[in-house]
């Protein structure tokens, strides 16, 4: 008798489970990023961005679709700074975890290995970080990026500098030999030649190379502008090197890296007057309808959550989440997403055009920036008083550019 009862109970339970299997009241979101290995620093920044979005959207009850709210649950895969592990992680998240959509990697290399996998499974992914132009040239249908590549932003600071008085006439442009840094240096070079700045020296150097001999020699030529594409440590080392040989160019330009907190923390007042490029700063005048109403609010939240000021990568990652949020609302799809619903999501992403705390998000539908966010404006920033301040273009400028750079010894 007891056995029969157990059997019936089992049948009912199974039936109940089977009925509910097609029913999930939260979105499963996969996150692929590099939590370990060489790229761990950047990878952890992206994780913070994605985490903050998930936390905030859940605190408001979740993503609202057709009047009902669905929370989000993040599932992580560590790419370990290796493209093959990124691909493996993507496969696991999609096939085993059954995630609805993906938030993407920190680096271009990992993204390039992950993209074909998600093309096969037709799962949309947005990356808040990968900045190399290579990705978008491949025209992956299911990969999007909230941050535009460096060849989109590189010309802006050069154009600003060309408009200053006295305009720089000569330049030395260097870049580390990795995809992002090289593309940055190329963008700087192309823009310089456009505006008539004479490029005295253009060199791509091995990553992490000590540049003192090169800079000591460059000092002889007294270039007005020194522009450098590189990653965090290399940027700090460059400034230290210029300090060590006591050469102050009229302008020193790098790219996104100057906005990272470590840059100012390590260099102190030596960081002052350094130019950089960005698409977002914590003080940018933006207007958002979802989650955060402007950049200041986001920055405050981020600082409260992590104790570190938010940088553009973190912001871009949180924005990636918001992009999905808006697209889901527009597509009107609810979890779990099936293939047809993912196609609707994809279509909504392609048609997306929203204002957020991060700026405007609008993905290109064709051309060399395919599926990258071309809604943003490239900004020129400068470190003033220990923080990056927007100095151009004119409509966004918060302060005039300090130019020429004050000599090291006079600070």
């Amino acid at each position: 008798m007891r056995r029969l009862a157990v059997a019936i109970g089992a049948v009912l339970l199974t039936a109940g489970l089977a009925l509910s299997a097609g029913h999930r009241d939260y979105f499963k979101v996969g996150v692929i990023t590099s939590l370990s290995g060489d790229l761990a620093t950047g990878g952890n920044v992206t994780k913070r961005g994605y985490d903050l979005w998930a936390k905030t959207v859940n605190s408001q009850g979740g993503i609202e679709v057709h009047g009902k709210k669905y929370k989000v649950k993040l599932y992580y895969a560590d790419a370990q700074s290796e493209p093959s592990q990124g691909a493996s992680g993507a496969e696991r998240l999609v096939t085993q975890e059954g995630v609805d959509f993906l938030l993407g990697p920190y680096s271009s290399g990992v993204t390039l290995a992950v993209a074909p996998v998600i093309e096969k499974y037709r799962v949309p992914m947005i990356t808040g970080s990968a900045e190399s132009p290579l990705i978008w040239r491949q025209k992956f249908r299911y990969t999007f990026g909230t941050i535009p590549p460096v060849n989109y932003t590189g010309a802006t600071p050069i154009n600003l500098l060309a408009g200053l008085n006295p305009a720089p006439r000569t330049a030395i442009i260097l870049g580390s030999n990795d995809a992002f840094s090289k593309a940055t240096a190329e963008a700087f070079k192309a823009a310089s030649e456009e505006v008539g700045i004479r490029v005295l020296k253009y060199n791509i150097v091995p990553a992490g190379q000590d540049l003192i001999p090169l800079l000591s020699a460059a000092k002889v030529m007294r270039p007005d502008l020194i522009a450098f594409g590189g990653h965090d440590e290399e940027l700090i080392n460059l400034v230290k090197a210029l300090r060590q040989i006591n050469y102050t160019p009229k302008a020193l330009l790098m790219h996104y890296g100057v906005t990272e907190p470590a840059f100012v923390e390590a260099l102190g007042k030596d960081a002052e007057d350094v130019f950089g490029a960005s698409v977002w700063t914590p003080t940018l005048h933006t207007r958002g309808t979802l989650l955060w109403k402007d950049a200041v609010t986001y920055a405050r939240d981020a600082e409260a959550a992590y104790g570190v000021p938010a940088d553009y990568t973190q912001a871009g990652c949180s924005a990636a989440g918001i992009a999905f949020q808006a697209a889901l609302q527009k597509a009107g799809v609810t979890p779990p997403l099936d293939d047809g619903e993912r196609e609707a999501l994809l279509k909504a992403l392609e048609e997306l055009d929203i204002e957020t705390f991060y700026g405007r998000i609008r993905f290109a539908r064709e051309g060399e920036y395919y599926h990258a966010n071309i809604g943003l404006d490239a900004l020129t920033v400068q470190i003033q008083g220990g923080t990056p301040v927007i100095v151009g273009p004119a409509e966004f400028a918060e302060a005039p550019a300090r130019y020429p750079m004050r000599p090291w010894n006079e600070r």
């Binding site: 761990a40 001999p213 002889v220």
Partner: protein, 295 residues
Amino acid sequence: MLQLLPQAIVDGLLIGGIYITVALGFSLAFGVMHIIDFAVGEWIMLGAFLGYYLTQWTGADALVFLPVVFVVFLGVGYAIQPIIHRAISGRRGNPVLMGLVFTFGLMLAIRGLGLTVFGFYSHSLSSILSAKSVFLEKGGLFLTVPVIRLTGFVYALVIMAALYWILKKTDFGLAVRALSQNREAAGLMGINARRISSWVYGIHVGVSAMTGVIIGCIFTISAQMGGDYTILAFFVVVLAGMGYLAGVPWAAFLLGLVQSFFLIFGNPSYTMLAVFVILYIILLISPKGLFAKGV
């Protein structure tokens, strides 16, 4: 272009000075204990971070703490050496490989600890010397000498002199040399191999840690920095001849000069390619190091 020749030479020698201190302790440790210490870069990292926290805490100049860092890590090395020794002695197939693999594991563990405790970010150590430079411009001559690098060079000379004095002029040094030449006979002579080895490893770790402080003043530090310096130590020491201390400065200067010459006169993109190819070719021509005096 000739006007830059002195600059290339000076820059190469100055960075070579740093390479010397990265490699010296490492070579000594190999010569005496026959351990290839894969963790050398991590000792540099730990010393750099100790220096960093001390300067943050007190606001004093980083270089002031060199003796402190040395003493602390002398102790650390002294204490750890017996563990390493116990791990790799006994009936093993290939003591060189075993020592290498053990210190490789040690390296991963220390790096993991470093990342846990210190986090992912890069930092910089500050010294008033970091900002000073000497500039000479005479006729066609153009020469800039960063003082902090000169300091690193002087530091290297001091360490070399100190080691020379210890090894040649003290009983301890005599014991060390005896031990590195013939361990068994040295034991017969009444030398306590264990204690000497502990001191030697302590010196190696202490010097490496101090070098970390200097490196932090010239460059940046991070929990992941160790790998590059370990490779550097390997290359310099093998080029010099394993265990042949006198060869270290020559190997270090050579590597420094190859880089500075390529950066100034050649195509900078090929700098590291040149370094590795030259290293490779020298080893092929002279299999036991530059002076064929390696172990």
